[in-house]
Amino acid sequence: MHEVGLVVGVAIAGAVGAPARFLIERVIRTRWPADWPWGTFLVNVSGSLALGLVVGIVLAQGVDADVRTVVGTGFLGAYTTFSAYAYETVRVGTVPRRGLAAGYALGSVAASVLAAVLGLVIAGAW
């Protein structure tokens, strides 16, 4: 794909991925209020599974690398987020609930990496 096409593709994908995160996070937070930030957690885990799949089909199935750029870097990169994850980790632990903070910090990483591995396995790239 032409350079300009990739830039436009990433911009459009980012413009869709970020509001998708915003809506899902808000629906989960309002429907199932909890101390654990389930919204960000589920967005990050589902996005990691999807990116594992996308990267996997590009690596193993010969799919064009531009798909990884637009869908992976653009959409899934914007859909998932690290800044809110780090902020929530510290904030849920402010009222001394260090266990919850540590569980969220490590649980997000563990679940997301396992999801990414699962995506790579399904795509035949493991």
């Binding site: 830039v7 990433v10 915003f22 990050n44 992976g72 990414a116 995506g119």
Partner: protein, 138 residues
């Protein structure tokens, strides 16, 4: 425009800007396979710091629901930073038997990310007594 529609437009425009900035940095500073993903690491840590400064500053000035929270916090910084790339880079490092690099990347991202938030709280004059915002942050 309804408040929700307005928020969606702000998050959408911010998301496009954040994704483009991350894409540009990844193009300018590509990371080779099997090496420490410095670019994503720096993007995530810097984004965590800036988000904290923004949110705490808005809480302190009494406008936690300011449009900048939605546009910059959820849109630009939410899209600029990424968890899926972080997780997939970790998985690929592990797959390619770069296990010590994978562990270093995971530990550094979590520890430095949390430290960046604490630094953000420090520079905005946060005290332990500060109540949590009413609404969780996305």
């Amino acid at each position: 425009m309804t408040p929700t529609r307005r928020a969606l437009v702000l998050v959408s425009v911010g998301g496009a800007l954040g994704a483009l900035a991350r894409y540009g940095l990844l193009r300018a500073f590509p990371v080779g396979a099997g090496t420490f993903p410095t670019t994503t690491f720096v993007i995530n840590v810097v984004g965590a710091f800036v988000l904290t400064v923004l949110l705490e500053w808005l809480v302190r000035r009494g406008t936690p629901e300011h449009w900048l929270r939605v546009f910059v916090g959820i849109g630009v910084l939410g899209a600029f930073t990424t968890f899926s790339t972080f997780a997939t880079e970790l998985a690929l490092l592990w797959r390619d038997h770069e296990r010590s690099t994978a562990i270093a990347y995971a530990v550094a991202s979590v520890v430095v990310g949390v430290l960046a938030v604490h630094l953000g709280l420090l520079v905005t004059g946060w005290r332990r007594a500060t109540p949590l915002p009413d609404e969780g942050e996305s």
